[in-house]
């Protein structure tokens, strides 16, 4: 065990041993966070407060939309006017499906809820996401045969800070998701030290009696500890230094973040073993992380919305998008419906990348 700790210490020292590396690996992500918060924190909740989802609905779908806010006293259902609705989340009126589709096409409404509580939309956005959330919960209540008064009246989508969610949050979580993959930079160096392709240190390691498996294990363990530290540091920095509340103390964050760290490490290991040239490895690492984060909306939520409309599967299968979305759902919306599928997808990606990397490391002699 002591030997393992010694080598982890050496790995970390080699990785962070220069001021340049320390800047890029520690200071830069925190700097990005600071810049982001300084420029965008003020816009964070403003946009959500002023926007109500413009909704059309079948009369049968009135109640789920109506009960998202607790009425001061229970209304008389027989005399309740169901032709129009206005509360803190929605405004709109009852329509036939035909009228609604026309309104959707002309972008006059954000969505239409039919009598089966199915949501019809013409584009993606926050309004649509909130409507979807309300309808999913309503369906669950109906399935359980509970009265609509069993709706979680305490949950507010616009007033409680913990549950607020804005396009700026998409950018923040995409940035954070990218930082959670930073272990790739360390694990990306493992291949260079184990596969003999010109580097003399690899020659030394290859001629030693220490197995490659042990050396990979040390590199992976160091990468994991390093990326865990960086994520923890970022959370502490954002929550306590920048005083921005993006994270809730929800245990569901743990499997999500762990699977993100493992995916990051696997991605670095993969690129470091399949690409021979060191300079090309660095370019591929930086480029791939930026592209994945860009797709998930790190540069602008509009890019993400555009891609979601044109290439929805790109968002669906992009690991950074999945991590960012899940972080929003867990920390902002308290929604865990897709958490396990995201964790499984990241685990599957990691598994494939690790298998390919091991095959490359174990590759026959030159």
């Amino acid at each position: 065990m002591r030997r393992i700790l010694t080598y982890i210490r050496y790995e970390l020292k080699v990785f962070l041993g220069s001021y340049t590396n320390m800047f890029w690996m520690i200071a830069f992500p925190l700097l990005l966070m600071s810049i982001f918060i300084i420029f965008f924190a003020d816009f964070r909740f403003h946009e959500v407060e002023i926007e109500k989802a413009s909704v059309a609905y079948h009369e049968e779908a009135f109640l789920p939309l109506y009960f998202v806010e607790a009425p001061k006293e229970l209304p008389n259902m027989a005399t309740l006017d169901k032709t129009s609705i206005e509360n803190s989340l929605f405004q709109g009126k009852a329509m036939t499906e035909e009228q609604a589709l026309k309104a959707l096409k002309n972008e006059k409404i954000d969505g239409y809820v039919d009598e089966e509580l199915r949501l019809v939309i013409s584009r993606n956005g926050i309004s649509q996401m909130i409507m979807d959330e309300v309808l999913t919960t309503s369906k669950q209540i109906a399935k359980l045969n509970l009265p609509y008064t069993a709706y979680d009246f305490d949950r507010s989508y616009t007033e409680s800070i913990d549950e607020e969610y804005s396009p700026i949050d998409v950018v923040f979580y995409a940035l954070f998701a990218m930082i959670s993959l930073y272990g790739a930079y360390l694990s990306g160096t493992i291949g260079n030290r184990l596969i003999v392709r010109g580097q003399s240190i690899a020659l030394r390691n290859a001629t030693s009696p220490t197995s490659k498996a042990w050396q990979v294990m040390i590199g992976v363990a160091t990468s994991f500890l390093w990326s865990l530290f960086l994520v923890a540091l970022t959370v502490v920095y954002v929550e306590f230094i920048l005083k921005q509340h993006f994270f809730s103390p929800d245990v569901n964050n743990i499997p999500l973040i762990v699977s993100a760290l493992v995916f990051g490490i696997s991605w670095g290991l993969f690129l470091g073993t399949v690409i021979k040239k060191e300079s090309l490895q660095t370019t591929a690492l930086i480029g791939s992380l930026l592209i994945m984060a860009g797709i998930s909306g790190m540069f602008s939520n509009d890019i993400r919305i555009l891609l979601q409309r044109s290439f929805p599967s790109l968002i669906q299968f992009n690991p950074v998008s999945r991590i960012g979305d899940e972080l929003i759902k867990v920390n902002m919306l308290g929604n865990y419906s897709t958490l396990s599928s995201t964790v499984l997808l990241l685990a599957a990606y990691s598994g494939v990348l690790i298998v390919v990397s091991i095959l490359c490391v174990r590759r026959k002699k030159a």
Partner: protein, 310 residues
């Protein structure tokens, strides 16, 4: 036998890097490998070390085939690569400890060996220095220390004195002799022929992937050098002597430069006595008269038709 290479053929695509190569390293000897760049020296070392696969032939190390998981054999081997294989971010002590730790698990033993290696290469004052703060010679010493700290009994030294100042070179060569005295068998490659001549028990001359000849320096010289060069400086210059020297039997060439005559014979031995007799007969007094000992470069030139440093 520590190493036995038999009929080894190694090819890189269409280039044959080693061609029916044979070599033996006996226990306790220093074997020098000399040859120009690209002759196959490093390829041979990496084939023996199990890094390169080869097309044909057989290599045994300590009478066994070296496989990736031959950990017991690997534990006895030390390798000092031609390029510096050091971590720039780790100190002298940490670098040696890192590589020694790949061979020795016990922490206490590793510490002892690391300290010993530092003393062996004379880097006690630089323990906490990072490699970039060391001179070229000191960095080379560190490179060696990293390869021998675990006290191997078989050491591969691939041009360990390249770009090293005279003082460090002498220190390194003394160190190699000491390792050999302590019982290590060594394979040593170098471009510096005088080093190989002085250091190695036997020498293998490699050219174009072939082992041209292996033997002691004397054996190589005797089997390849077919001429002798004698140099004479006379007390007084004599205009006729040049012609008389050329008429001597077995003389193939005579030149004069700065009052020194260079006489080349077509046979390698017993020409000094004839020259002395000739000068006596002519009544000439000589200030200096000596046979120029053929260098390893002469041997190499004779065998391959080219200078080693081509």
């Amino acid at each position: 036998m520590v190493i036995q290479v038999e009929n080894l053929i190694k090819e890189f695509k269409e280039i044959r890097a080693l061609d029916s190569f044979n070599l033996e390293l006996k226990e306790g000897e220093i074997l020098g490998l000399i040859g120009p760049n690209g002759s196959g020296k490093s390829t041979l070392l990496l084939s023996i070390l199990g890094i390169y696969a080869f097309e044909k032939g057989k290599i045994s190390v300590f009478n066994q085939e070296l496989k990736p998981n031959s950990y017991d054999i690997k534990r006895k081997i030390g390798y000092v690569p031609q390029d510096l294989a050091l971590f720039e971010e780790l100190t002298v002590y940490e670098n040696i400890d890192y590589f020694c730790g790949l061979y020795v698990r016990d922490r206490k033993k590793r510490k002892e060996l690391t300290e010993k290696a530092i003393a062996f290469v004379g880097l006690e004052k630089y323990k906490k220095f990072v490699p970039s703060k060391l001179s070229g010679g000191l960095a080379r010493r560190l490179n060696i220390a990293c390869g021998i700290a675990h006290e191997p009994t078989l050491i591969f030294l691939d041009e360990p004195t390249v770009a090293v100042d005279a003082q460090s070179r002498s220190f390194i060569l003394e160190g190699i002799k000491e390792l050999n005295r302590q019982g290590a068998s060594i394979i040593y490659t170098s471009h510096y022929l005088e080093e190989v001549e002085n250091l190695c028990d036997r020498i293998a001359i490699i050219d174009q992937g072939r082992n041209i000849i292996t033997g002691t320096y004397e054996e190589l010289r005797d089997s390849t050098i077919t001429t002798e060069i004698i140099k004479i400086t006379l007390l007084e210059e004599n205009a006729d002597i040049l012609k008389d020297l050329r008429n001597l039997s077995h003389v193939i060439d005579v030149t004069i430069k700065d009052s020194e005559y260079t006489v080349k014979f077509d046979n390698p031995k017993s020409n000094v006595a004839n020259i002395v007799q000739f000068l006596k007969e002519k009544g000439l007094t000589y200030l200096k008269l000596y046979t120029e000992v053929p260098s390893l470069n002469d041997v190499f030139l004779e065998l391959t038709g080219k200078e080693l440093r081509d």
